[in-house]
């Protein structure tokens, strides 16, 4: 029983971070209709920002959220504006050119970071890195609990932003029906730019929160991109609530799978759920929750 509870807690906490990664992706995928295969790489860049701030200026990782998120927002804006949007106009046989562009961007980001920081593994060790507290016999990592809290806060904030503000509504409108949004007078081009920025800032937040408990190196982007799109498909494109469900589900499924099937099955569990959802619940949890 202890094992089970411990795993539930671990999966749930991890799921909080996944949710944050997933929200960024789901917004981008929903609004743009494309898969962003540079999502994890953008997160990696944010982690390096946090790492630099910590090791050269002694900034606490949680404080560096205030730098990493705006910085990545700008990076996202630039990418969308100058690299992705121009492709919409281009006459191409495959609409997937934008997706490939994100692959290229991912490569460039990874290599730029590698160029600057080498392939070394870097870690940020803080006073709370290994700190834990126990409830009964269940151990909680402080850093993950805090990360979970911040992730939930951002998610809730994002949710209300999308529902209550004009900009948020425009984003949701674009995500649901681009053509209709254009007819309603939404400047979709501007919306895509802002959305990409927001999505990137959110994944930057996730990355920053991950820094104290994880480590950074240039190649860590790929696996997180994969997780991000699994979460997005689980939750349904463009759905914030779906992304939260998707994130937590993936976190729990990975942990349970890793415990009861074996750690090496961790990734396969995620992928299997992904394929099952694609086939049997196209549209993801959004179909069930309708939010």
């Amino acid at each position: 029983m202890d094992v089970f509870l411990q795993i539930l807690v671990a999966g749930f906490l991890k799921g909080g971070l996944y949710a944050l990664i997933g929200i960024g992706m789901t917004l981008i995928m929903g609004v743009m209709g494309i898969i962003n295969l540079a999502h994890g790489q953008l997160m990696m860049v944010a982690m390096y920002v946090t790492f630099v701030l910590h090791s050269f200026f002694g900034v606490d990782p949680y404080l560096s959220l205030f730098v990493a998120m705006p910085a990545l927002f700008l990076l996202g804006v630039v990418i969308q504006k100058y690299l992705l949007n121009p492709l919409i106009k281009a006459e191409t046989i495959l609409p997937e050119n934008q997706v490939l562009m994100t692959v290229g961007i991912g490569m460039v980001l990874t290599e730029v970071i590698r160029f600057i920081f080498k392939s070394d593994y870097k870690s940020v060790t803080t006073s709370y890195t290994g700190a834990t507290f126990f409830l009964g016999s269940i151990s909680f990592s402080w850093a993950l609990v805090v990360a979970f809290g911040i992730a939930v806060a951002f998610t809730v904030a994002m949710f209300f932003f999308l529902i209550k503000t004009d900009l948020g509504r425009s984003i949701r409108a674009t995500a649901q029906d681009k053509d209709a949004a254009i007819l309603m007078g939404v400047n979709t081009r501007r919306i895509t730019v802002i959305t990409f920025g927001l999505g990137t800032a959110l994944v930057a937040c996730a990355g920053t929160l991950l820094v104290p408990v994880y480590y950074v190196f240039p190649d860590l982007g790929g696996p997180f991109t994969a997780k991000a799109f699994i979460i997005t498909i689980l939750g349904g494109l463009g759905s914030t609530v779906g992304a939260i469900f998707g994130g937590v589900t993936l976190g729990l499924a990975e942990s349970l799978g890793a415990t009861y099937l074996g750690m090496e099955y961790e990734d396969i569990v995620g992928l299997t759920i992904f394929v099952l959802v694609l086939l049997f619940l196209p549209g993801g949890f959004k179909r069930l929750t309708k939010v």
């Binding site: 202890d2 590698r114 593994y121 151990s139 991950l210 990975e254 942990s255 415990t259 750690m263």
Partner: protein
């Protein structure tokens, strides 16, 4: 558009010129080819090895090179990928016409490149790639300085026999060539020692959360936790073991990540008491490892960064190759191969002699060591005759530590 056009022409000329220039180079110094991952995810170690090669090269050339000629190293980047590594070795052999190739970090690259050397009949002195079967195929032109992955736990084995007589063990390993083969080897060792393996499980490198794995480990409550992990997985494992309050009698790392300074930096106090197998430390006796300490100090002084056993392997490889070049009858690959086969020397990485045993051919056999983190420093603790400190055993419970 004029600029584009000029640019294109420029690139064309550049490319053509680059084809031509390869052919034109007078062969005054003796060229030695080196394949290493200079870019890509393994570049960190590729870089350490490159620097070590260059250090050794300068020392050798400063002493007059071989037979009055200097040695020149031709580095090729294998990017850590087997097909690229193979292209690189082929280029070294057929375009640069080197009489001998050395280097080889990744096991996969080595496995793909070794048959090329064998078939083109140019000797390949592998310094790192540890996959067992590379020297089990009877490749006449392939030599390896590094012990094979399956031999890494030798010292651990004798420590377990002599000091830490544990009854149960858990083996955790990353799902890589190195992880799979050395965990298998250690499992065999456990059988031999009568240690019951309660659990043996792999994971893919780069996991965020090892709690699922470790929770299962905790439930099994083993005496020994043996981990084959790369540096930051290693640090996460040990940190999360602490978080979950797992208390075996000893934690042992199977080389790779556990001996690197980054491990200690990232794991902090949790690194204390952790044992690890290793092939080399700077503090080994000068009798068998001449120049080990000097190499270590020079490297740090010169590059202002740390080196470890990979660097020592590269450094030694350069000396082994130079030694063979000194003894060879001529600089044809065949003669260099024969000279290499007769190698019997002592290097900073230990005695080097290419022997055949079991299924292996032309494989160097070296003792391994057990080290332990004590007060933030890596101390050699086994075998006894080379120990710098006494092994701290058993490991105190997390709650009993400062």
């Amino acid at each position: 558009m004029r600029i584009v056009r000029k640019g294109l022409i420029g690139i064309f000329v550049l490319v053509m010129a680059s084809f031509l220039c390869g052919a034109a180079s007078a062969a005054e110094p003796i060229k030695v080819g080196v394949v290493l991952p200079l870019t890509g995810s393994m570049a960190k170690f590729g870089e350490i090895e490159r620097r070590s090669f260059e250090m050794a090269l300068e020392e050798i050339n400063a002493k007059g090179g071989v037979k009055g000629r200097k040695i020149e190293l031709v580095f090729e980047d294998d990017t850590g990928k087997p097909d690229v590594g193979r292209s690189a070795v082929e280029k070294l052999i057929s375009r640069d016409k080197v009489p001998v190739v050395t280097g080889g970090y990744s096991s996969a690259v080595v496995a793909a490149a070794a048959p090329v050397a064998h078939q083109l009949k140019v000797p390949f002195v592998i310094c790192t790639g540890a996959a067992d079967d590379v020297t089990e195929k009877g490749y006449e032109y392939v030599f390896r300085i590094n012990p094979t992955a399956s031999e890494y736990p030798e010292a651990t084995k004798s420590f377990l026999k002599g000091v830490a007589k544990v009854k149960t063990a858990v083996i955790l390993y990353e799902n890589t060539q190195f992880g799979q083969s050395s965990s298998k080897a250690f499992e065999e060792d456990c059988k031999e020692l009568g240690i019951q393996v309660l659990m043996k499980e792999g994971y893919s490198a780069g996991a965020i959360d090892f709690k699922p794995l470790l929770t299962n480990v905790k439930a099994k409550n083993p005496d020994l936790i043996y981990m084959v992990s790369y540096v930051l997985d290693a640090s996460l494992l040990i940190r999360q073991a602490k978080e979950l309050d797992i208390n075996p009698k000893l934690f042992v790392g199977g080389a790779a990540g556990f001996t690197l300074p980054e491990f200690q930096m990232s794991a902090g106090p949790a690194a204390e008491y952790v044992f690890s197998a290793t092939l080399w430390t700077p503090n080994l006796r000068d009798k068998d490892y001449p120049g080990a300490k000097k190499y270590f100090d020079n490297f740090r002084a010169r590059y202002k960064s740390d080196t470890e056993y990979h660097g020592a392997e590269a450094y030694a490889s350069m000396y082994v190759v130079a030694d063979a070049l000194k003894r060879t009858k001529s600089f044809t690959p065949k003669d260099v191969r024969d000279a290499l086969a007769a190698t019997n020397m002592k290097t900073a990485f230990g005695p080097v002699k290419f022997i055949s045993y079991g299924k292996k051919t032309q494989q160097n056999k070296l003792p391994t060591y057990l080290v332990q983190w004590q007060d933030g420093k890596l101390e050699t603790v086994w075998p006894k005759d080379v120990a710098t400190k006494k092994a701290l055993y058993p490991t105190p419970k997390w709650s009993a530590r400062k």
